[in-house]
């Protein structure tokens, strides 16, 4: 019995086992689709913002189905703020690297072949940075609104119990 199965059998946190089982199969597809939208943003419709929100929705569906214990163990609020800040810095760094070619945000890398994954210079890198930033920040907003919110007293008390045990 692996860890996810233990969480599915656990009746205390999250929704019913039906929802948990469906979410367990759908979640991987959601994450793959989000990563696809981010990585292929320069070739197909989408981009960093839309893909990042899809990835964040994957984490949110995990939180809603399994409760906060599993979601915070996969992606805690501390890591969310760290990734948010560092991705913003990466995006700014890409902009400053453009100064070596001439001006801010200059596309200094090679253009590559048409319709290839590794093409369009710095645009895919910017997409990845924005995708990471949006994922972390949107999930952090969800955490602050639901789990750390002032009105959700029961959830917060459970979370405080968990942190005290650690």
């Amino acid at each position: 019995m692996d860890k996810m199965e233990k969480y599915i059998r656990d009746g205390k946190s999250g929704m019913t086992p039906i929802v948990k089982t469906v979410v367990r199969f759908v979640m991987g597809i959601i994450f793959i689709f989000g990563a696809y939208v981010v990585l292929y943003g320069h070739l197909t419709p989408g981009g960093g913002f839309a893909g990042g929100v899809i990835l964040a929705c994957g984490f949110i569906i995990l939180t809603l189905a399994f409760g906060k214990g599993l979601a915070l163990s996969k992606f805690s609020d501390k890591w969310a703020s760290i990734i948010d800040n560092s991705a913003a810095l990466i995006f700014l760094t890409i902009g400053f690297i453009g100064f070596s070619g001439g001006y801010f945000f200059m596309n200094i890398l090679g253009k590559g072949k048409e319709f290839a994954l590794f093409s369009a210079g710095t645009i895919p890198l910017c997409n990845i940075a924005i995708g990471l930033k949006v994922t972390a920040s949107v999930f952090a907003v969800f955490l602050t609104l639901s789990i750390f919110g002032r009105f959700v007293s029961k959830l917060v008390d459970d979370y405080e119990d968990d942190t005290e045990k650690e």
Binding site: P45, C126, T144, L145, V152, S153
Partner: protein, 198 residues
């Protein structure tokens, strides 16, 4: 196609009116969702798949967050009568807006026939060669107008910091009792008393 767009627009207007007038908070949140998803279809029909994807995804997210927030918060309806003065003032300003909009709309170009602009023509003609990105929207967002995108990311960053600071339950400093009474933050006993049913 324009008839279908008109039907969707009327549907959106009806959805927003229902969202305002509904007594139940949950049903008004779902009516807001009707507006958002119809807007996604409109963007898709007008040939803007990038914005349609973003609209649908953000709408799902906002709906989930709003429903999550409305279920856990206090949602008693306000029974007071509306004051007449604000209603009259807003009706007057709405009429003024309609009068000016009547003259302004006549100056707009025809539907589906945008003004020829040199910058847009340059992006469409030279975008793939100059940037290497096949998606012209991404080419404009992250190459020609990357500085704008950085400002957008900064706005997002600032709003996240604000949300963390304001919505966080426990502050960094230790809270004293007189501060709590002054600011009006609910204590645990008050929360349990007021929101026991949720």
């Amino acid at each position: 196609m324009e008839i279908f767009l008109l039907v969707l627009t009327i549907f959106m207007i009806v959805g927003s009116i229902v969202a305002i007038e509904a007594k139940n908070l949950l049903s008004s949140v779902i009516s807001v969702g009707i507006v958002g998803f119809s807007l996604g279809i409109v963007f898709l029909m007008l040939g803007a798949p990038d914005i349609a994807i973003t609209q649908v995804v953000v709408e799902i997210l906002i709906l989930v967050i709003l429903i999550r927030a409305t279920i856990t918060t206090d949602n008693t309806a306000i029974e007071k009568h509306k004051d007449t003065f604000p209603v009259v003032v807003s009706l007057i300003f709405f009429g003024l807006f309609l009068i000016f909009a009547y003259f302004a709309v006549q100056e707009l170009p025809q539907f589906g026939d945008p003004l020829p602009r040199e910058a847009a023509a340059h992006y469409l003609d030279n975008g793939p060669e100059e940037t290497g990105a096949m998606n012209i929207v991404t080419a404009v967002l992250l190459d020609y107008r990357a500085y704008d995108t950085m400002g957008e990311a900064t706005v997002l960053f600032a709003s996240i910091v604000g949300a963390f600071v304001i919505l966080r339950r426990r502050g960094r400093k230790h809270r004293k009792d007189e501060d709590t009474e002054k600011v009006g933050i609910l204590e645990d006993e008050d929360i349990k008393k007021n929101f026991e049913g949720f």
